[in-house]
């Protein structure tokens, strides 16, 4: 009897101690809050937008060059295009801050999903409940379908089912077969998002970039900016802005402006690495 009571007391003591001093099996960082953009980071890419013919730093192929060369920014003047949001691949580099919130399962307290909301233009849901991605034929959206997995304090997000979009606002395309892996890292009030974008149609290797944000605790509410569609310029119905291949000199102009060889302005994986400088020097171009 005494032994049984002692055993129960020891058991209770162990339970209390384990409750007091236990730690989760894996740590998770709270990303909740309004994260504001650092516009000075790659500033020309942010607000004003890239220059035509600038394909530097992109692992694009000839098909992507052809599409970008014939792309016309006037597309965004079409009523059908004016209120399109950026896709998830571009949104981190846009002018929009991101509000991150979480869905909590009321019984267990588990965080089942995160929302990355960019000015209500897109609300990305990152499922953390282990669900699979939908089949290939499921609809593609601007946000795509995202699942997340904790790796220590880093959240790794995998996104599929994206719509065709652009990676740079000079028309370099991304196909709807693009997938994206992101690593979200928080250091105090700084958020860093590393994107690894893979496109089997237009890239020869993954495109990688990181973007930083700062927590803004002062912005408690957002003012939605409603978009209104309106004819901007006079054109016949059905007009599609375009430029015929071979008729543009953007690459030459961009290269001349920044004193680059035209070949370097045309981008491609080879031009992205330090060895390329050596090649240019050997060719006497730099």
């Amino acid at each position: 009897m005494h032994h049984a009571r002692f055993a129960r007391l020891v058991g209770l003591a162990l339970f209390v101690c384990s409750s007091l001093f236990s730690v989760p099996a894996f740590a998770q960082i709270d990303f909740s809050g309004l994260w504001t953009v650092r516009y000075h980071e790659d500033q020309p890419e942010r607000s004003p937008g890239g220059e035509l013919g600038d394909y530097t730093g992109l692992p694009l192929n000839d098909a992507a060059r052809l599409r970008a060369d014939s792309w016309d920014a006037a597309l965004y003047g079409l009523k059908e295009w004016q209120c399109r949001p950026h896709g998830s691949t571009y949104m981190w580099r846009s002018v929009h801050p991101v509000r991150i919130s979480k869905d909590i399962e009321p019984i267990t307290g588990d965080v089942t999903a995160l929302h990355a909301n960019f000015d209500d233009l897109i609300d990305r849901v990152i499922y953390l409940d282990g669900r699979p991605h939908p089949p290939e034929e499921a609809p593609h959206t601007w946000a795509g379908f995202s699942t997340g997995k904790w790796e220590g304090n880093m959240l790794t997000v995998t996104t599929t089912h994206l719509k065709e979009y652009i990676i740079r606002r000079d028309g370099v395309p991304l196909s709807d077969r693009t997938t994206m892996v992101e690593h979200w890292l928080r250091h105090d009030d700084y958020l860093t998002v590393v994107q690894i974008v893979t496109d089997p149609v237009y890239f020869t290797e993954p495109f990688i970039q990181s973007t930083d944000f700062v927590l803004d605790p002062t912005r408690l509410r957002d003012t939605p900016e409603l978009c209104e569609m309106e004819e901007e310029t006079d054109h016949p119905a059905g007009w599609v802005p375009h430029r015929l291949p071979g008729t543009t000199t953007d690459a030459e102009e961009f290269a001349k402006k920044y004193k680059l060889p035209v070949e370097a302005a045309r981008g491609g994986a080879e031009t992205m690495y330090p060895d390329y400088l050596k090649k240019l020097k050997q060719a006497g171009q730099r």
Binding site: R38, Y39, H40, P44, S47, P48, G49, G50, E51, L52, D72, A73, A74, L75, Y76, G77, Q82, C83, R84, H86, S94, V95, H96, D119, L121, R169, D170, G171, T223, E225, L226, C227, E228, E230, E232, T233, D234, P241
Partner: protein, 129 residues
Amino acid sequence: MPRVLMVAILAGVGLAGSIPLLAHHSFAATYFEDKTQTVEGDLVQFVFRNPHSFVHLEAPDEKGEMQRWAVEWGSGMQLSTQGLTATALKAGDHVIVVGSPGRNAEDHRLRMKSITRPKDGWKWNGQFN
């Protein structure tokens, strides 16, 4: 620190502090931003909206032929913060617009740099994203 560098840094801080929204298309890809064109004519329509407002006016081109010009301006939200409202301009107003010309000449499109209404001296010049 050289004064020029200090001014450049302060200008950069000022720009970084502004909050542009819905900057969809690249201005550099749409307009010749290093060029300036002036058009003078009568306002047909002022569309005060997001993502960008537009001033439409009838004015002659370089050849003297009358054209309808579409002048792109800031978003309604941005212009509101600068004190402008949807009633700032009215159809029939005679205005002088200075802007960056569009890359497609046949579009007769400009990116607003300044607009003046000589009748009462009303003027706007500034920046928008």
